[in-house]
């Protein structure tokens, strides 16, 4: 599922550099200048983690770093706010379960 906007009456769609990253071991592509959550969303991935107690699916909510609903493990580091974390080449992004252990 591709959710990219390809034409828009007001916004010019810029040509952007493609960025490769890994999500749960699989190769994905996003664009320079976007966040991890937006690249995943564009690829149809909206469940980013599970709630700690009841394992309910969690996606992003505010998309500006306010609510902590979008935590994922990034390059081994837990609790990264993926809605504001810029996407970088070869990033390793994983679903996080619970609070996110350090090792």
């Amino acid at each position: 599922m591709n959710q990219r906007i390809n034409k828009h009456p007001i916004i010019d769609i810029p040509l952007r550099q493609k960025i490769k990253f890994f999500y749960n071991g699989k190769e994905f592509f996003g664009f320079e200048g976007e966040t991890i959550a937006s690249a995943l969303h564009a690829a149809g991935i909206t469940k980013l983690s599970e709630s700690i107690k009841h394992h309910r699916p969690r996606g992003f909510y505010c998309a500006i770093g306010n609510c902590s609903s979008c935590f994922m493990r990034v390059d081994g580091k837990p609790n990264v706010k993926t809605c504001v974390e810029p996407l970088r080449e070869n990033m390793v992004v994983e679903n996080q379960e619970g609070r996110g252990s350090i090792i």
């Binding site: 959710q3 990219r4 906007i5 034409k7 828009h8 009456p9 007001i10 916004i11 769609i13 976007e34 966040t35 937006s38 969303h41 564009a42 909206t46 469940k47 980013l48 709630s51 309910r56 699916p57 969690r58 996606g59 992003f60 909510y61 505010c62 998309a63 500006i64 770093g65 306010n66 609903s69 990034v74 390059d75 580091k77 809605c83 504001v84 810029p86 970088r88």
Partner: protein, 362 residues
């Protein structure tokens, strides 16, 4: 420890204008913004702005932001920090900052003679069963995704809230090629401007007033929403439920001023419904009860970009003036700005806001 005359927290329209105004007198200004970009809410606004001529009405929001950012960058007295979040104010007035570089964070401490807080607003949410499912997003999030990252939030959207923001975002969704199944609002009347509402209706999107959201359903993502009519106590009326197959629900039920720094700083606070929640008391020059903390924009009370810009300029001029910096045009400019603000809040439309501001002056 970094020392500066004036620290401004938040690089939206009010913070940018505050920086420009404060730097006019030669004061050293530091402006910090949490996001990678300056411009705050303006960055996401693709529509023509309503507001006075002077405050760029009929200019698209993101273009206004760009102009202000240029002006800030051209000033030698303003140091700007993006990707930098202010974390807290300590008793001695020191503000701690977290700056992000790639995946590293560095922590900074700032000792400023005065502080202008222009942190904008937070979105309100709504309680209903399964309101935490992926696919249910705040209005700001939907806008950010579409207009900043050029990603559609989904295929078919239920908009909850028919205020200006809900109406405008619905229209932006249509522009992005996303279907809007409908707009609901619990209140019996549409809260937003009628021009926006008729534009939406003409595009074939139904607006259901007097309806609320009852529940959301889906396994890993939203699949269905149930709405129902409300009685005069805002309770759903059994038998009036309607089911809608939507994969996105956009919650646009209003904003509340972001007030954390005022509480931490010890400012006297007041709950003012007309302004969206708790706000600090302030004088006409936007100085709070803590002498060296000023407020402007949505964090002073939910309003509009036009008034946020004027307030920013007032707070910026006043803060540097109060520190003893001399700017020749001060008296004339600040009077003009105060009048402009009065104009923006004038007439029928401004009654509500004026009532709110009358409660917070000192």
């Amino acid at each position: 420890m970094i020392h500066t005359d004036i620290l401004i927290i938040g690089g939206g329209p009010s913070g940018l204008c505050a920086a420009i105004a404060a730097a006019k007198s030669g004061a050293e200004v530091m402006l910090v913004e949490r996001s990678q970009y300056f411009g705050g809410q303006l960055v996401k606004q693709t529509h023509m702005f309503f507001g006075s001529e002077k405050q760029y009405a009929a200019t698209r929001g993101f273009d206004i932001g760009k102009k202000l950012v240029e002006e800030v960058k051209n000033s030698d007295n303003i140091k700007i920090f993006h990707s930098t979040t202010a974390l807290g104010i300590y008793e001695d007035g020191v503000v701690t900052l977290e700056q992000k570089f790639e995946s590293e964070e560095i922590y900074l401490k700032v000792q400023a003679k005065s502080l202008i807080v222009t942190t904008g607003a937070l979105e309100k949410s709504l309680p209903f069963p399964n309101n935490d499912l992926p696919g249910i997003y705040g209005a700001g999030a939907v806008q950010t995704l579409m207009n900043e990252y050029l990603v559609k939030p989904g295929k078919r959207v239920l908009m909850v809230g028919a205020g200006n923001i809900g109406l405008i975002i619905s229209y932006q969704l249509l522009q992005a090629g996303v279907e809007v199944a409908g707009i609901i609002d619990a209140s019996p009347r549409i809260g937003g401007y009628l021009v926006h509402a008729s534009k939406i209706r003409r595009s074939g999107v139904p607006i259901f007033t007097g309806y609320t959201i009852v529940k959301a359903e889906g396994t890993d993502h939203l699949e269905k929403a149930t709405i129902a009519k409300v009685d005069q106590h805002w309770k759903p009326i059994p038998g009036t439920e309607k089911e809608m197959n939507v994969d996105v629900m956009c919650i646009s039920v209003g904003l509340t001023p972001s007030s954390a720094f005022f509480w931490q700083g010890g400012c006297e606070m007041e709950y003012v419904r007309e302004l969206g929640g708790y706000v600090p008391k302030r004088n006409r020059y936007l100085r709070t009860t803590v002498g060296n903390i000023y407020v402007a924009g949505d964090s002073a009370g939910i309003e509009e970009a036009s008034s946020a810009m004027v307030e920013g300029s007032i707070a910026g001029l006043a803060a540097s003036h109060d520190l003893g910096f001399v700017y020749e045009g001060y008296n004339r400019e600040i009077e003009e700005l105060l009048q402009e603000l009065e104009g923006l809040r004038g007439g029928e439309k401004g009654i509500h806001i004026r009532r709110g501001y009358n409660k917070v002056g000192f």
